[in-house]
């Protein structure tokens, strides 16, 4: 297992080494999170690498990644723990009639009958993990409230068993697309990191990292066009992942330049709404043609 990072530069280098190019703020906050053991709330538009940051951190720190994908209606049974009813029932039946009530009662509420869900897994793991709570804004406020105990004290209360304390300190990342305002109580327990679309140069580096064979000129053109597309009023602006996909596609097609023809043909890789397609083809396509002329 990798040693705890000793400086911000360490974290930046480490993340870079596992294929994630962090901004200065990102590496600073990641360092603070690892150092202080505070959860980090990462907000930003879709597809700027919030989830990827957690994965990269796990790779860099050489820890397991435990992921809890949130959705509306997510409850304790899916996130924390559940009693394994079937097994409990079997246990009672196997016991037969001669066992006393006290024995069975004590038995069936043991750890053996506990089904661990992601949060519980992260707490109970013997080696420290990276816990990713993805899209926390999709859940209800009740679920947020339930997380508070976990985030501030790293413990979970189970009525039948008592408190389960974390054996090791996990690094916790919560991501949010800002579709709902999170409660103050949750924010208070977290460090805050806002991830935005990267600058031109930064994105160019990212694209180069993932498709080193792509011609430099094409790569630069690509990030310029993507930046142009993001400026339009779209339902879903292209994410970094889509820029990379596009770069791979262009590499596969052996494109030498992004002209109007190539752009229109490969457009559907970065834009995924019918109405958006029209807007982009019209606005950016025209600009490309003008450049070529």
């Amino acid at each position: 297992m990798a040693a705890a990072p000793s400086s911000v530069a360490d974290v930046a280098d480490g993340l870079r080494a596992v294929g994630y190019l962090p901004s200065d703020a990102t590496s600073l906050v990641a360092y603070l999170a690892a150092k202080l053991g505070k959860p980090v709330l990462v907000e930003g538009p879709a597809g700027v690498g919030k989830t990827e940051l957690a994965k990269a951190l796990a790779r860099y720190l050489d820890r397991d990644l435990v992921r809890l994908q949130c959705y509306e209606g997510l409850d304790e049974a899916k996130a924390l723990y559940e009693w394994n009813y079937r097994k409990q029932l079997l246990r009672i039946q196997a016991e037969g009639g001669d066992a006393g009530w006290d024995d069975v009662q004590g038995d069936i509420f043991g750890e053996e009958f506990l089904l661990q869900r992601p949060l519980m897994t992260a707490i109970a793991a013997s080696d420290p993990v990276v816990l990713l709570i993805d899209e926390i804004d999709k859940t209800d406020q009740e679920f947020e409230a339930m997380l508070l105990e976990l985030l501030s004290d790293f413990q979970i209360s189970i009525p039948e068993l008592g408190r389960v304390r974390a054996r090791t300190q996990p690094v916790v990342l919560l991501t949010s697309n800002n579709s709902r305002e999170l409660t103050e109580a949750l924010k208070r327990r977290c460090l805050y990191l806002w991830l935005d679309y990267p600058s031109l140069e930064h994105e160019l580096q990212i694209v180069r990292l993932h498709t080193p064979q792509l011609d430099d000129r094409v790569a630069r053109r690509l990030v310029e066009v993507v930046a142009m597309v993001r400026d339009l009023d779209l339902k879903k602006p292209p994410s970094i992942a889509e820029s990379i996909d596009w770069a791979r596609a262009l590499l596969l097609l052996g494109a030498q330049d992004i002209d109007r023809q190539t752009f229109v043909e490969t457009l559907s890789i970065i834009v995924k709404h019918r109405t958006d397609l029209d807007v982009v083809a019209e606005r950016v396509g025209v600009k490309l043609a003008a450049r070529a002329a």
Binding site: V8, D24, A25, L28, V29, Y31, L32, K35, L36, K38, L41, E43, N178, E181, E184, K187, R188, R189, C190, L191, Y192, L193, W194, D233
Partner: protein, 483 residues
Amino acid sequence: MRPGPPSGGGEPAASRRPALHASTPPAGGPPGLAARIVELGEELRGEGVAIGTSELLDAFAVLPEVSWTDPPAFREALAATLAKSQDDRRVFDLVFDRFFFRAAELQAVHEGIGEGGGIDAEGAELNLEALREAIAEALREGAEGRMRDLARLAIAAFGRRGEGSGVIGVDVQRIRRALGLRGEPQLDLPPSDARREGMPRDAVRRFEQLLRAELERAQIERTEALPPARPLNDLDRALPSGPLQDLAAVHRVVAQLKRRLKTQGHESRGRKRHAHVDFRATMRASLQTGGVPVQLKYRPTRPRRPEIFVLCDVSTSVTSASVFFLSVLHALHDSFRKMRSFVFIERISEVTDVFERERDFKAVSDAIGRDAGVADISGYTDYGRVWTEFRSLVEDELHPRATVIVLGDARTNGRDPRADVFAQVAQKAGRTFWLNPEPRLYWNYGDSVIASYERFCHAFECWTTQQLEDFVRALAQPVAQGR
């Protein structure tokens, strides 16, 4: 140049001395840093950022991890612990700059460090045209350090020409104009000029900030005293954004508005004043007491949803506000079942069915733009005609429980306002509201005739989301019976 954050050394006699004094200085920081951080926290609270003790404790916890002599890291570390949303982060950046700028200046005044009038203006050869180009170049590249130096040069150059007004805001704009820094493309300039295609707005904004900071610094040095702190105004606070983000903000408020409207009107439920005995429920309850109706059951009083007529101006003079208006209209439609909407420019056109057909806001605004059939002959609003047509359309349906809401700027383009017809409409309806997207300051200037309508209705200025909320509160109040 003096380092920005933070000022160490002997403490100036600060008027406010927070409770958490330098008794627990963060390891590695200079003495007094802890007190500074608490002061910063207080200033942030003053600007409306929710900062609890736990946030401050976090800030102290992270400080040993970063070097306080590295300004970007210092700022990011504090921001990660103190500012917990994007809006907060914006306020934080502004307050952070202001706070440490003032702290550094105060310290300089205290210790009698001066720069002797800033740059040596006499020695430097200040060719204005060369300076202009150098600045444009730096802005285009976004070179922060060079921008700062050039800002000082520019101030020196203009100071020598004796054009300073003494008011910092005015001077900043004068210098900017003289440098020809504009966001729009300036096609009359030669192609080699960096300004030809328009300067990046962010960079121009940043340059203005630098100018302001330098001018303030010079002023503090001259007077040897700090001017009173300027609180952030709404303009600073607002995100520098295109209409797109504004629209997102409107949608957010409108979403809140929907929620609030949904839960409103329930307060009056259960008031016994008009309660009718529910015979069936009473009989059912009487079975418990052997058929003797001991307990009377009443019909619950349902909240009365008002019937609403909305008129929305979509002419060019309110273009910027009509998106706002249409989304408000959209939200209202979701919440009130009995509602009829009209849009008007020169004549009136009913769009109720458009809203009922389409649930998506974008589709609605497209549909209204395309086929709502707004009779748009001249493109100028004719309020007199609109009232006459509106009256003939809905005259029979207006009654004392109806609410009429007008969204418009009351600019008649010199035509007859026909306030008498409006008065008749307002007379028949229970309540009449007017939402005006212009600040109250501009009312009744030029061709605005809001005063003649205001006598018959409640007029609200409505150009921020807060004002919109105030209006919703007024709207959701129970309808008074009669007038």
